[in-house]
Symmetry: C2
Amino acid sequence: MNRLYHVPLSPFCRKVRLTLAEKRIEVELVEERYWEQQPDFLRRNPAGKVPVLRMESRLMSESQAICEWLEEAYPSPALMPRDVDARYEVRRLCNWFDDKFHNEVTSKLLYERVNRKVQGTGYPDSKAVKFGASRIKYHLDYMAWLLDQRRWLAGDSMTLADFAAAAHLSCLDYISDVDWNRHAVVKDWYVKLKSRPSFRTLLADQVPGFTQPGHYADLDF
Amino acid sequence: MNRLYHVPLSPFCRKVRLTLAEKRIEVELVEERYWEQQPDFLRRNPAGKVPVLRMESRLMSESQAICEWLEEAYPSPALMPRDVDARYEVRRLCNWFDDKFHNEVTSKLLYERVNRKVQGTGYPDSKAVKFGASRIKYHLDYMAWLLDQRRWLAGDSMTLADFAAAAHLSCLDYISDVDWNRHAVVKDWYVKLKSRPSFRTLLADQVPGFTQPGHYADLDF
C-alpha cells in the first residue's frame, strides 16, 4: 500500500494529497510528528520534513519534486500544460506560494497560531501574526489580478499552481484567517476547487485543540 | 539581447548563470540592487528578488522555474536525465540545496558576513555564523556519501543538481567558508565543475569590499 507521512495542516502535504487524489492514486495517510525527529522518520527522510511519500519501494520527499514525479509517472489527468511557457508559469506560481506566500503569510499565521501550540514551542509572536495578517491581503489582491485575466491561476486549465495556492489557503481557512469577501473572483476560484472530490479529504481534517470552523467544510460558505 | 538581472554572490543567480552558459545562451549580466526595491525592478518581478531573466519579450523569475524552462526550451546539452525516477532525484537535490542548505548554511554564513555589509543592515550575528559553520560539515558529509555511490550528485550524469550545489558552495568559497579537505570526493567533484568553461564567469566575479581569496579562482587549489 502507498503511504503518505504527513500532518493535516501542512500546505506542502496538502499539495501532494490533492495531486494524488486528482490522479486517483490511493494512499494511506500516516500522521508524523516530524518535529520530534524520530530516528525511523529521519531514515525515511534525512531532511526531517513532511511530506514523505512511499510508493512501492520508493521513498520520496520534497513536495514539488514529488508532484513533478507524479505528473511524469501518472500523466493522466494532466496537471501541467504542454506548452513550455505555460509550464514555466505553473512552476513560477508553485514557487510563489511555497516560498514567498509561505514565508510572508503561512509561517506568520499558521505556524505561530497552530504549530507553536501543537509542538509546544511557546506563544504566538503577535508582531509576526500582525505582519502575516497584513501580507495576506497583498497576496489575495495578486491572485485576483491573475484571475481577472485567467480561468485558473496559471492559465486556462487547472494545474499544480492552483493546488499549491489552495493548499496554503485551506490551512489558513481552518483558522479563519482568509477574508473570502475581499475578492469575488478569488472566492469563486476557491469554490470550484473546494467542490472537487480531491478536496474532500482536506475538508474532513480535524486538528485536536483547534475546532473546525463552520464555514471550513461548507461548499456554500 | 538576453539579460540576466543578478547579484554576483547569489546562489540562485549562479545556478541560472551556469545553466545558461552550459546551454551556450549568451546573456548580458546586469547587477541589480534588489534590496532597494526600485519600482522599475518590481515591475520586472513583483517578488522583488533576483535572478530575473529577460529572453526576448519574456521576463522570468524564480531560479528553479527558469532552469526547468531553459531545459525544456533548449534541450541540448541535457541537464536532466530522461528517466522519471532520475528526474525526481535531480529535483529533490535542487530543493535540498536551495531550501535546506540555503536556510542552514548560506543564509547563516554568506548573508550574515557579506549581505549585511553590502546592504547596510548591521553586523553579522555570531550565533548564526557559528550555526552555519557547524551545519556545513553535515552537508559536506551528505554530499560525500552521495558521491561515494555516484559520479555526480544525482546519478551518473551532470545535472541541475550539481549546479544548485556548486552555486551555493562557490559563493561560500568566495568567503573561504568551505573546508575542501574534509572529503577528497567532494573536492574532486568541485574541481570537475570548476574546470568547465561555464564556471569561468563565476570565477571572475569581484565583490567590492571582499577581496577574492587566492584559491577561489585557482583550478588547482
